[in-house]
């Protein structure tokens, strides 16, 4: 039935234009490019696959080095251990606090400096911008910054992770460029005529129009806070305040997991477990970022490009 109808209906679809075949050397070149990209893809993915495969394997298989790119003796023991470890949970909790609060503080401060700097009638904007950019080129360095953090009394408190690196100059540049290019001057004039104050214009006109920018800034700061460990290493002594990255460093690189078992067989098992645990911890700690990553990547790219247009 269907065959007859299709045969009687005159062909309305336009023929595709005849495809120009590429010359032979170009097709060879394309094959070479594909092979190169496949090799790069493998080099990037294989280490990651190896880690994930190990994390799902049994403790003895991992310790014997028998795991390649597929789990051996499938087991979830490592994840159970990782997710019941009090240090890890505390670290997770702390990192969440730092990520949320840090992002709030950072985005607020960034907008607070970038918005005035974007206004053409704001006297002194060039001087201020130069002062900001100078801090990108030259800095006091580790010890002088440590002295300031010590002197204002926030050493070994949560503030030590939230304040010293709160504003990134690069993020200010992105925000300033965005405001300057996507908010037309007429909106400011209209706001003024309606009797709105500067802050009111910012709150009711500019910010609602800047949601993409706020999203990009929030993502950048959140990922920075989640991944950084340097400030915590330098400024924190109290283990209860440690973010996840410091906990990871202690457990993965310094190997500070103490065996608590008494008999030998149990001790051996614990030692083996400590090995798999490392793989599971890597997966568990990177998961939040890698899960949001596919949604974030596009915005990240956009953010990089926003700054590219000179304001």
């Amino acid at each position: 039935m269907s065959a007859t109808t299709t045969s009687t209906v005159p062909r309305l679809r336009r023929k595709r234009p005849a495809k120009v075949r590429e010359p032979f050397h170009d097709r060879v070149f394309l094959v070479v490019v594909m092979i190169m990209l496949t090799v790069i893809l493998a080099l990037v993915l294989l280490p990651l696959i190896n880690i994930v495969a190990n994390s799902f394997s049994s403790a003895s298989a991992v310790s014997a080095g028998r795991v390649g790119f597929w789990p051996v003796d499938f087991s979830l023991e490592a994840y159970k251990t990782a997710l019941t470890n009090s240090q890890v949970l505390q670290g997770y909790y702390n990192s969440l606090i730092y990520a949320v609060l840090g992002t709030l503080i950072s985005v607020t401060l960034t907008v607070a400096i970038a918005y005035p700097l974007s206004r053409k009638t704001f006297y002194g904007r060039n001087v201020l911008m130069t002062l900001l950019i100078f801090t990108m080129l030259f800095s006091g360095g580790l010890i002088p910054t440590y002295m300031v953090v010590h002197d204002i009394g926030i050493l070994n408190t949560r503030w030590a992770l939230l304040l010293p690196n709160a504003v990134g100059v690069w993020q200010v540049i992105i925000a300033r460029t965005f405001f300057a290019n996507s908010i037309p001057d007429e909106l400011y004039e209209a706001g003024m005529l309606d009797g709105a104050s500067e802050l009111r214009v910012l709150r009711s006109v500019v910010l609602p129009l800047s949601k993409p920018l706020l999203a990009v800034l929030a993502l950048m700061y959140t990922i920075y806070q989640w991944n950084t460990y340097f400030d915590a290493l330098v400024y924190l002594k109290d283990p209860d305040l440690f973010p996840l990255q410091i906990v990871l460093r202690n457990m993965l690189i310094l190997n500070t997991t103490r065996p608590s078992a008494s008999n030998l067989a149990e001790q051996l098992h614990q030692q083996q477990l400590a090995n798999v645990l490392k793989y599971a911890l890597i997966v568990v700690s990177s998961l939040p970022v890698l899960l949001i990553y596919p949604f974030v990547a596009r915005h990240f790219t956009k953010g990089v490009m926003v700054g590219a247009v000179k304001g």
Binding site: H25, L30, V33, M34, L37, I40, L41, V44, L45, L46, P47, N50, A64, V67, G68, F69, L109, A112, P116, R119, T121, F122, N126, L137, S139, G140, G141, L142, I143, P144, T145, Y146, M147, V148, I152, N165, V167, Q171, I173, T177, E198, M220, I223, Y224, W226, N227, T228, Y229, F230, R249, L252, I282, S286, Y293, A297, T301, V304, G307, K310, G311
Partner: protein, 336 residues
């Protein structure tokens, strides 16, 4: 360290001149002095000045006050007298530093590592971007792009842990592979000669996809008419890359390279410190890790600050020098 700042994009209008006030020779009364401009701006924007004062306070407290504390590099700092009251010692700290036999090794390690890093991480993203740009939009292309971008979001601690595990002589997959080829296990991290390669290539692994995105954007900005006419003239794909794509991304590449060399000495403390162990210290001790150990572990603030200051000054000079050369040679630099 600081939130990612090393970006290839020309810094906007830092050097932009303020719009000159309207000049009318016949009516000088209308010409505004700077002072009246400032007064007018304050009347209009006083709320914005208040708003900006909070982040400016941040920059003063956490960026500019530390710069003033650099004076302790020329002093014998002690906690009781503070940075201003401590006695001056002139260049004694620097004399001590330059005559210290460790200094030569430190400088050499830092320079070689930094230089190697810049050299290795410059071409890889370009090759990746050119390759991706050649193939048609497809499942494969998107996968390669997503996968190569992903490591950028993994933290340094995790990357170093992964490196240690993958290269481990007992459980690591690399040594398993070598074992299958009949090679005895190699303890990569205990050998100082491997340190630089590990540092640099894990860094390339982590950032190549991210940097490639920047080049891809530059490539998409190239006028398609150029490609069309090259095709009509019978240029092969390789020739089009050579004569259309490469010149098209040249400005971006120059800025990337300038920033790379300029940030050479600001090479990350984080990773070097994590990859360090007693066995590879001969090549893995670099200036930032030395500053950390001298300053915060041995509590020699003045010496650590002197080393840090030396590093910052070298870094600034490098950046300015490279920018100057790049501008002369190619006409593209960080500043106009």
């Amino acid at each position: 360290m600081a939130i990612p700042t090393s970006h290839p994009i020309p810094l906007p209008s830092a050097t932009e001149r303020p719009v000159p006030p309207p000049q009318r020779s016949s009516a000088p009364a209308i010409r505004r002095s700077r002072w009246s401009q400032a007064k007018r701006s304050w009347r209009m924007h006083w709320q914005l000045y208040l708003l900006a004062s909070v982040p400016m306070a941040y920059f003063v407290i956490f960026k500019y006050i530390p710069m003033s504390f650099l004076v302790i590099a020329f002093k014998q700092y002690n906690v009781v007298q503070g940075p201003w009251g401590s006695p001056w010692v002139g260049l004694q700290n620097f004399d001590q530093l330059f005559s210290n036999p460790v200094f030569g090794t430190l400088l050499k390690n830092t320079f070689i590592l930094a230089f190697y890093l810049v050299l290795a991480s410059f071409p890889v993203p370009i090759i990746l971007a050119l390759g991706l740009n050649e193939i048609r939009d497809s499942w494969f292309k998107r996968t390669v792009q997503m996968a190569t971008y992903a490591p950028y979001f993994i933290s340094t601690v995790v990357v170093v842990s992964m490196t240690i595990l993958v290269l481990s002589p007992r459980v690591g997959v690399v040594n398993q592979g070598l074992g299958a080829l009949g090679v005895a296990p190699i303890n990569f991290l205990a050998d100082p000669d491997f340190f630089r390669h590990i540092y640099v290539w894990t860094d390339v692994w982590q950032t190549a996809g991210y940097s490639a995105v920047i080049y891809l954007a530059a490539l998409s900005g190239i006028d398609p008419a150029l490609h069309e006419s090259a095709k009509i003239d019978g240029a092969s794909r390789l020739q089009r890359i050579r004569y259309v794509d490469l010149p098209g991304i040249m400005p971006t590449a120059v800025v990337m390279l300038v920033l790379g060399v300029g940030n050479m000495m600001a090479i990350g403390f984080e990773k070097a410190y994590l990859l360090q162990n007693d066995l590879n210290l001969a090549q893995s001790e670099i200036i930032p890790t030395y500053v950390y150990k001298t300053g915060l572990i041995n509590a020699d603030f003045s010496m650590a600050t002197a080393v840090g200051l030396f590093n910052s000054v070298v870094n600034l000079c490098l950046l300015l020098a490279v920018n100057f050369v790049a501008k002369r040679v190619t006409g593209n630099g960080l500043w106009r």
